[in-house]
């Protein structure tokens, strides 16, 4: 119960902080929160836009849930997303001659593999040489972003407009739109309805997920029970890299329809917060990613309509993560206290029984 309640409290708290900020800027909080809510879920169009925004965050967070379960702190999802985006764009542009769903499927698979191979380097460094993955993944984020910037200014540049971005991918590579006039695409459906349950089953119902959990919670027990920890680290890393790559493919084939240098406004980092907010549970992550996407989309509207400075979403993300981490302690404290009082009770009962 407590585990479900805490994220809700954290969300409420962060909404409270938004209200305070809005109030501090001299805007009526009701108007501000109303605008925020309306521009994220107010009508069918805004709701679908929020789902479109939530998809890359969801994809990143699903992968990170797998990694964090094994206590593999992959903070390189941002870089893996960029590499995935580059791969997806390259495949989508060059396979446009094939009939409709095939190029986009190829692009997704290629992007996933590209993201996973980008994650393979820190994975090997951690598994083989025990080099802390936080440093290596972070360094590789910068390398990936500069590398894609170079590719988009050079070999992949649009030859006609000379903008640092690829050409628009051919129609047969684009993901089908679900409703005419809306940006909602099949990638959204696929991520929410197929990939989310898949990750849930993988983590909770299979031996693979169980091994990752064991490695994450008690590596000593895992070692003595014969689990190859290095292999589990590699698996956790590759899956999270694969999903981050998919997030890149989702943006290229479903939303932006080309690769550009600022393809992600920090989805790789939002995914960290969303994975923690969702308590590493795929269904919790679905809710958390929609919440995060609502804040992101709402904050754009807030800045346009009410001149609230942009970046409020980043601020909320930061506060949320700290709150969630803090919540972890409170929960364990409460559980410990309950255990202690339960033990006292049972000791008392025993004594009474003796008398």
């Amino acid at each position: 119960m407590l585990y479900f309640l805490y994220p809700v409290i954290a969300v409420g708290f962060s909404l409270g902080i938004i209200t305070l900020i809005i109030y501090g800027l001299g805007i009526s909080p009701i108007e501000g929160l109303g605008t925020l809510l309306y521009s994220s879920f107010g009508n069918a169009y805004y709701t679908t836009e929020t789902l479109v925004r939530a998809t890359p965050i969801l994809l990143v967070a699903l992968g990170l849930a797998v990694a964090f379960t094994a206590k593999v702190w992959n903070i390189g999802a941002e870089g893996q997303l960029y590499i995935g985006g580059i791969a997806a764009a390259t495949i989508a542009i060059n396979s446009g001659w094939m009939p409709a769903p095939i190029p986009s499927i190829l692009a997704w698979i290629g992007a996933g593999v590209a993201g996973a191979s980008w994650a393979l380097i820190p994975a090997l460094l951690k598994a083989k040489y025990e080099i802390n993955e936080v440093f290596t993944t972070l360094m590789m984020n910068y390398i990936a972003i500069y590398l894609s910037s170079y590719l988009l200014h050079g070999p992949l540049m649009n030859p006609t407009t000379l903008f640092p971005e690829t050409v628009i991918i051919p129609p047969s590579s684009q993901l089908a739109k679900l409703i005419p006039g809306y940006r909602l695409h099949t990638g959204v459906l696929f991520s929410f309805l197929i990939l989310t349950p898949l990750v849930y089953i993988f983590l909770s119902k299979t031996i693979y997920g169980f091994r990752l959990k064991l490695v994450g919670s008690s590596p000593e027990v895992a070692r003595t029970s014969g689990i190859n920890i290095k292999k589990q680290i590699l698996i956790a890393f590759l899956i999270s890299g694969f999903f981050a790559g998919l997030a890149g493919a989702n943006e290229v084939t479903g939303v932006v329809l080309k690769m550009r240098p600022e393809i992600s406004p920090g989805y790789g980092y939002m995914g960290i917060g969303v994975a923690l907010l969702g308590r590493l549970n795929p269904f919790g992550i679905v809710l958390a990613s929609i919440f995060m996407a609502g804040i992101v989309n709402g904050s754009y509207t807030l800045s346009m309509m009410l001149k609230v400075p942009i970046g409020i979403a980043n601020f909320i993300l930061g506060i949320l993560i700290v709150l969630i981490v803090l919540g972890e302690v409170l929960i364990s404290r409460v559980i410990e206290a309950r255990k202690a009082s339960f033990e006292k009770e049972s000791i008392k009962k025993e004594k009474r029984g003796e008398k």
Partner: protein
């Protein structure tokens, strides 16, 4: 030719100052058994508040002062979460970094409202070099070592002090005991948490200054994520320096030479078709990654580094 070399080495020393200060702070903290990944966030917050203070008061030393205060607040928050509340140190580190990134991103826009004016705000006065009389006149060595900001001299003093402190003082010995085996240290009557908090405060001071240097000494602007992973670089330098002050100092200098080279490549228009500017920007991260991969293999830090220590009641 000699001028170019002097200029280059002098620039390397300048670039090494913030990273060296931060790395020394992190070294002390890690020796006490704590892995503080929030150093990056500490530096970023320091850079931000130093910029804001200097922008409004015109006094860069006041900016340094606020950066120190905020730096201490961030590392103390880290301390409370990881030591008093015993939460995973890596998790808290990552969380505080993202908090600093989001908070500075938003507050910068909230304070300066840059969308109104296209020109980003700049500070008027910065911390400048403070040449040491006589010593700075010495040919070659003078301009390299003795024509720097006061914080470079502080770094030069800090390294021998740290070495002496760790090697020859009882306090240093106690500190190392906290990192190697806090249970035994506690048993011997050493207050483990007191040592760890003290070191975190020192790191907060040094990290705050380190961040501030980027906005009110080397540059005059605050940009999003201006520290750009240099806090992580500083921690990587501690690993490469095998948790020894002098080796860390040397590693930092080698890193700074790469960074100074990168800046020069861009400034002198050496960027061309065969060496795109993105590769120049990428270089410091690539070098750190390769250095870690080659020399960071299975190096043994303090035995309890990064592990949560709970006192048995």
């Amino acid at each position: 030719m000699i001028d170019i070399i002097i200029g280059y080495i002098s620039a390397s020393i300048r670039m090494m100052t913030p990273i060296g200060l931060a790395a020394t702070g992190e070294l002390l903290v890690e020796r006490s058994g704590v892995l503080n990944l929030s150093l990056e966030g500490t530096m970023l917050m320091g850079a931000f508040v130093a910029f804001v203070t200097t922008y409004y008061t015109g006094n860069p030393y006041l900016g340094i002062g606020t950066a120190i205060i905020v730096g201490i607040l961030v590392t103390l928050l880290f301390g409370v979460l990881t030591q008093t509340f015993a939460i995973d140190q890596v998790l808290v580190g990552v969380a505080l970094n993202l908090f600093a990134l989001g908070a500075t991103f938003f507050l910068y826009r909230a304070i300066f409202g840059w969308y109104v004016s296209p020109v980003p705000p700049k500070v008027e006065t910065v911390i400048t070099e403070l040449p040491i009389p006589l010593l700075s006149e010495i040919p070659i060595i003078g301009p390299i070592l003795f024509n720097q900001t006061v914080f470079t001299y502080i770094l030069f003093l800090l390294v021998p002090i740290t070495i002496y402190f760790l090697k020859n003082t009882t306090l240093g010995l106690h500190l190392k005991a906290c990192g190697e085996n806090p249970e035994v240290a506690d048993y011997l009557g050493i207050n483990v948490f007191k040592y760890r908090y003290s070191m975190l405060i020192i790191e907060g001071i040094l990290g705050g200054i380190a961040g501030a240097l980027y906005t009110i000494s080397y540059g005059t602007m605050f940009l999003d994520n201006i520290t750009g992973g240099r806090g992580f670089v500083a921690i990587a330098m501690v690993i490469l320096g095998q948790w020894l002050p002098l080796k860390t100092f040397a590693a930092t200098f080698l890193y700074a030479m790469v960074e100074a080279f990168q800046l020069r490549v861009q400034a002198f228009g050496l960027v061309s078709e065969w060496f795109p500017y993105q590769f120049a920007l990428m270089l410091p991260y690539l070098v750190t990654l390769i250095a870690l991969a080659l020399f960071g293999r299975k190096v043994k830090g303090p035995a309890w580094l990064g592990k949560t220590y709970k006192r048995v009641k």
